[in-house]
């Protein structure tokens, strides 16, 4: 299966910038001072370039929410009990979670994926069943998962990206649910950004100062025990990762291989993107960073990949909530690009030579 993954990785091509002058010329002909809509213009241009289309339709949007459990919760790293993961899956399916509300607001579909929840769901309408394991193992005591399981979870993400694209989606977003998952996300961030765990470990769902110290120690122990090597990204995932993080990594790789942009949510999602980026740095061309999370390691992740978030709203929920909000702004940027009048068309005078 690692061969099939390698094929996907090798098929990813840099975004073709050939249409840039034409896209920029259109942006500059819109009835506004050049560049005065700032990042909205930048977003529209990026989307058009990725889609290789000077006049794309408005995006068809889907948020993929990967749910998984984490053996490391037995170390007491989270404020919430592990069963919240499966309970929240039910909440997603019934439409009552934050991501449901914000995806509806953005006009995006929500696809809920059980990629590693430690719970046996009955047949449920809307649940995508791609369970690779009943949760990862406790990385403070052993590897989080076998290497082939990490690859299987990545492939699941890539296949789900392909499925969404084949069903018409042109803009995907990452989301996740997994009690304890800021712990592997911090470990992954420490490894790839070459930082100390204490500098990339935050309060997750809201633990206190003592618990934060303990959580940091657990991450340090997991790294010491497993010796993850950043030059082997799949090894890092299998040693100190999580199944939803692997799924997100696969979603990013799969989408990039299909020329489809991905809006990356917060800290956990960006950890998945970080693994994808380590496997294939070109994926960066296809990513929109949605928001600046409160989690302190998030800044290091984004700066490692050279991404600038669109929003800064003190969010720390995950699920894809920040990505869904950013999708609304991507739509806004594209509507500017597609719907605004031009100077020539609207008979508005342009600026003088002191522009």
């Amino acid at each position: 299966m690692e061969d099939r993954l390698k094929k996907i990785i090798d098929s990813i091509r840099p975004v073709d910038l050939g249409l840039e002058p034409e896209i920029q010329a259109h942006l500059d002909d819109l009835t506004k001072p050049k560049g005065s809509l700032g990042r909205l213009e930048e977003i529209a241009k990026t989307y058009c370039l990725i889609r290789h289309d000077v006049k794309p339709a408005l995006p068809k949007k889907a948020v993929l929410v990967f749910a998984a459990d984490h053996g490391v919760t037995e170390e007491g790293v989270s404020a919430f009990p592990k069963e919240v993961t499966f309970q929240m899956v039910y909440n997603f399916l019934s439409g009552g979670a934050g991501i449901n509300v914000l995806a509806r607001h953005a006009g995006a579909d929500v696809r809920v994926v059980d990629i590693g929840v430690d719970y046996d769901f009955p047949e449920l309408e809307g649940l995508i069943r791609r369970k690779v394991m009943h949760g990862s193992r406790n990385m403070a005591k052993t590897t989080a998962m076998d290497r082939d399981k990490a690859v299987e979870a990545i492939m699941a993400g890539a296949e789900l990206a392909k499925e969404a694209v084949s069903q018409g989606s042109t803009l995907l977003a990452t989301g996740e649910m997994g009690i304890g998952n800021t712990t592997p996300a911090s470990a992954i961030t420490a490894v790839f950004c070459k930082m100390r765990p204490e500098d990339v470990t935050g309060r997750g769902t809201g633990i206190n100062q003592d618990a934060l110290g303990h959580k940091t120690a657990v991450i340090e122990q997991a790294i010491r025990l497993n010796s993850p090597d950043p030059s082997d990204p799949i090894g890092v995932l299998s040693k100190v990762g999580g199944l939803e993080i692997a799924g997100i990594c696969g979603l990013v790789l799969g989408a990039a291989s299909l020329g489809t942009p991905v809006v990356v949510d917060g800290f956990i999602s960006t950890a998945g993107a970080l693994v994808a980026h380590a496997l294939q740095p070109i994926v960066r061309d296809y990513l929109f960073a949605s928001h600046q999370s409160v989690e302190k390691g998030h800044r290091a992740q984004l700066s490692h990949m050279g991404l600038r978030p669109v929003l800064d709203l003190d969010l720390r929920l995950g699920e894809g909530t920040g990505a869904a909000l950013a999708m609304g702004l991507i739509d806004a940027g594209l509507k500017i690009y597609l719907e605004m009048a031009t100077f020539s068309g609207a008979k508005v005078s342009t600026g003088s030579e002191i522009l």
Copy 2:
């Protein structure tokens, strides 16, 4: 007329915080870690408090775009010729401007007000005719307008707020169009924030370094000549203001007097809010700062009133574009508040004592 204005100003009451515990309790019962949706939660709470309603309907939204001309353009302070003001009014009315696109995206009405354009429009569908003068005078040579004209423009803004509210609007936004209007906005900012013109003067629609130096000198001259006194805000408006800025000031006062929140757009709009704030500091309770503008004086304005913007997208277009985008996020916050499941309702376990 100044008496009628004084009545409005005196009728503004601080927002009643009595419902805060009930609103916060509901936010904390939603299926997410407490406070994890950051500013979305804060926005929802602020809106509910202003509306004095623990279960408000989603906002009915309107953006009021005030257009006016500025005699000071004869000093060569803008990159665009003056006729762009009236041309853009036509563009607003035909739906092709940035504000039209972004207001449609947010589900907000756009109301276009001629409060002082130096052009005689024929009868036009959708144009609100409240012309106070055919543009302000050149503040580098004399006062921008007589005091009674400033009051008349403020009253027009207040009356339009009242009209919008009586027609069902529950969330208003400010917008403006007026070639040259960053010049009076910078002058107003310098006066109220007690800063040097060079520290609050930016490139507007995009002038070069030389032109920026000239623009700053013009503002310095206008202030020297007119000696605006920050303890007399109407005097400041009449000496170095603009008619659209006065209209926005009135909109803020009128909305606050009716318990209606106002989303303030960028630099010019915030100059209007600054005058309203000088007349009645309580208006601050009713304001949402939409975005951080590229114009350098904007930061000083916001910090003077203790407002924190929702967005930071390098915008510098005005028209109400940033406010319309922020309206989308206010809607998102309210949907979170109104539509998310609760812990009790969704049977999700709450956090432990280490929360």
